[in-house]
């Protein structure tokens, strides 16, 4: 039997990790909900964001909390270039072409990561001194706590952006009905570009946050893509709150899976949950009524 303290610690760690998963998933969910494209390179973009934060930290000692903004800026630009140069040509022509374009991009990013940094895993750390919080039944380490708070802020900021800014409203309008949005004078091409930039920037942010907790190597892309997609499926496409809840569910169940079944099963548990939900309740556990179809 596993000690109760270990269980509560795993649950707390899982919740804190879930925040970052939710950030990664939110980027994927936005692009999927609005553009009807699953960004197969999302995990690899996360890897790039993590490496940007790690390299900035290694070179200058700047905390990845700030490096995150560099990563987000870079990934935002990558998203815009990707949309303008490649995806624009294939969107709306069935699912095969976008899948393959993004698959190719994932290969390129992984290969570049390998070439620039080698196959070894690297990691950054918070770079800020301080103690964690002892809850009595579990301990919240400082990096996990800080990354969780930043993750929740990012999610809140994205929600506020979509809810209250003109561009955000235009994005939601485009998600609901592209044709109608265009009749209302919304430049939907521009909306798609911004959406993809936003989605990839969130992948970069999630990567930078993860770099403070886990070693990153050039091959982590596929695994984080599947995790992010699992969260999207759990939370329902287009539901921001659902994404946060889904992230926490995934984080907790992964940690409990690793605790009870052994570290090798950490990813198996998350993938099984993912497939299970996908097959049994494909609209997600918390699908919002008006979410994108």
């Amino acid at each position: 039997m596993v000690a109760g303290e270990l269980v509560s610690q795993s649950i707390v760690n899982g919740i804190l990790l879930g925040g970052i998963y939710a950030v990664a998933a939110l980027g994927l969910s936005l692009v999927f909900g609005i553009m009807d494209i699953v960004n197969l390179a999302h995990g690899h973009m996360l890897m790039v964001g993590a490496y940007v934060a790690i390299l900035v930290f290694a070179a200058t000692g700047i905390t990845p909390l700030l490096g995150m903004f560099i990563a987000m800026g870079l990934l935002f630009v990558l998203g815009i270039v990707l949309q303008k140069m490649l995806l624009k040509h294939v969107v709306g022509e069935g699912i095969e072409q976008p899948i393959i374009v993004l698959f190719g991009l994932a290969l390129i990013l992984q290969n570049i990561g390998q070439q620039v940094l080698g196959g070894d895993s690297r990691t950054a750390d918070l770079g800020i001194p301080g103690d964690g919080i002892d809850l009595g039944f579990a301990f919240m380490s400082l990096p996990r706590t800080v990354t969780f708070v930043v993750a929740v802020i990012l999610i809140g900021a994205t929600w506020a952006f979509l809810q209250y800014t003109k561009t955000g409203q235009a994005i939601r309008a485009t998600a609901q009905n592209e044709t109608a949005a265009r009749y209302m004078g919304i430049d939907t091409d521009r909306i798609y570009t911004i959406t993809l930039g936003l989605g990839t920037a969130l992948a970069g942010a999630a990567g930078a946050l993860l770099s403070m907790l886990f070693p990153i190597d050039p091959y982590v892309g596929w695994s984080y893509l599947l995790k992010a997609f699992a969260v999207v499926v759990l939370g329902g496409v287009g539901s921001i709150l659902g994404t946060l809840v889904g992230g926490v569910i995934l984080g907790v169940s992964e940690n409990l899976g690793a605790l009870y079944l052994g570290g090798g099963y950490r990813n198996v548990v998350s993938l099984l949950i993912f497939l299970g939900v996908l097959l049994l309740k494909p609209e997600g556990l918390f699908a919002s009524g008006g979410s994108a179809e």
Binding site: F32, D36, I37, V38, L40, L86, H89, V90, I95, E96, Q97, I99, I100, V101, F103, G104, L105, A106, L107, I108, Q110, N111, I112, Q114, Q115, W222, S223, L225, L226, F229, A230, G262, G264, Y265, N267, V268, L271, L272, F274, L275, L278, L279, P282
Partner: protein, 353 residues
């Protein structure tokens, strides 16, 4: 409704000059083990494995329109099941189940087909993006589980396969494996050709073009998706079993890795998705690219491959086959098929006559 038309490539193998070309290529391949070095034989064997992977993935993705990202799982499971049967003791199985390599690789293919048969009805509840990601997840689960089963797979140390088919000092184990792989490749191509030429192929193309319309016309989508999935998985597993018994070493981290899915996809895209000859041409080009690029540009070969598939899918969706069709088949066919570009309305062609 492109499935109602006869694609020019369907006449491909009916053409006498093409039959002659195919005959020459097969004869040339037959001589490979006897006239070339062992390493070149191995390289071309890899090319044949690529043909099997490409042709089988194309049946599922190009014809039936189901973009599976789990092909590696079937390749790898074929390799492992075949290895368990030829080298049972290494996995703790009784020596009595030991089978000759030829039988074992067929069982490897059958095991892969069985897995497809079992998971198909479940995984085909998903479609489009969900199917693609679902199969990617499924392959990841299989890889992780196999990696964890150290007693069955050797874990990250890998699994050494026993096998020696060498006949004498001139005909090595690799040479015999090459000939077996050649036969398997021909079978793969021939069976797939029969399927896509027949009513099954038409049904698959109909599902690809418009599943609802196909369904309303009496085509059972699940039945034909399963058909494509099971056949495709069988040949992927067969390829895995053969490749494992050529290299005589398999490892969950490499044999079940997503790399094999990537290779299958790149091969099909290079050659032309949904065209019959595409994956065969694509496998040849990929083999050259994979070895040639690695020699010339070193580590960034994958980047170039990635860029190539992106550019080809955008600007040349019919791939190398599309190019060949424009410049070569026209002449080979005496201009017969060139009058009917397969995307055009057939009526327009008759009016021109």
């Amino acid at each position: 409704m492109s499935f109602l038309e006869r694609h020019p490539e369907e006449a491909l193998f009916a053409n006498r000059r093409l039959q002659a070309v195919i005959g020459v290529v097969v004869l040339a391949l037959l001589t490979v083990p006897f006239v070339t070095t062992d390493s070149l034989t191995g390289l071309i064997l890899t090319g044949l494995v690529f043909v099997m992977l490409g042709v089988s993935w194309n049946l599922l993705a190009g014809y039936a329109g189901q973009i599976s990202l789990g092909h590696a799982a079937f390749f790898g499971m074929g390799a492992f099941v075949a290895a368990w049967l030829t080298t049972p003791s290494a996995a703790g199985f009784p020596a009595s189940i030991q089978l000759p390599i030829l039988v074992a690789v067929v069982f490897g293919g059958l095991a892969a087909a069985l897995i497809a048969l079992l998971i198909g009805p479940v995984i085909f509840r998903l479609s489009g993006h969900y199917f693609a990601i679902g199969t990617l997840a499924l392959a990841a689960i299989i890889e992780l589980l196999m990696l964890d089963q150290r007693s069955l797979t050797g874990g990250s140390t890998g699994y050494y396969v026993q096998g020696d088919l060498s006949i004498n000092e001139f005909v090595s184990h690799g040479d015999v494996m090459f000939l077996l792989t050649l036969v398997a490749t021909i079978v793969t191509v021939a069976v797939t050709y029969r399927i896509v030429q027949g009513s099954g192929g038409l049904a698959m193309k109909a599902i690809h073009d418009d599943e609802e319309a196909a369904s309303s016309l009496g085509v059972n989508p699940l039945k034909y998706k399963m058909y494509a999935f099971v056949v495709s998985s069988f040949f992927a597993g067969l390829a895995g079993g053969l490749y494992g018994h050529y290299t005589l070493y398999i490892n969950p981290e490499s044999t079940l890795a997503v790399t094999w899915t990537i290779d299958s996809l790149v091969i099909v895209i290079l050659g032309g998705m949904g065209t019959f000859a595409g994956p065969i041409l694509g496998a040849a080009l990929f083999l050259i690219l994979d070895t040639g690029l690695a020699a010339v540009v070193g580590g960034i070969a994958t980047t170039i491959e990635g860029a190539l598939i992106i550019l080809i899918i955008i600007y040349l969706p019919q791939g190398l086959y599309g190019l060949a069709e424009d410049y070569l088949i026209k002449d080979v066919d005496g201009g017969k098929t060139s009058e009917a570009p397969h995307s055009a309305d057939p009526k327009a062609v008759t009016e021109e006559d």
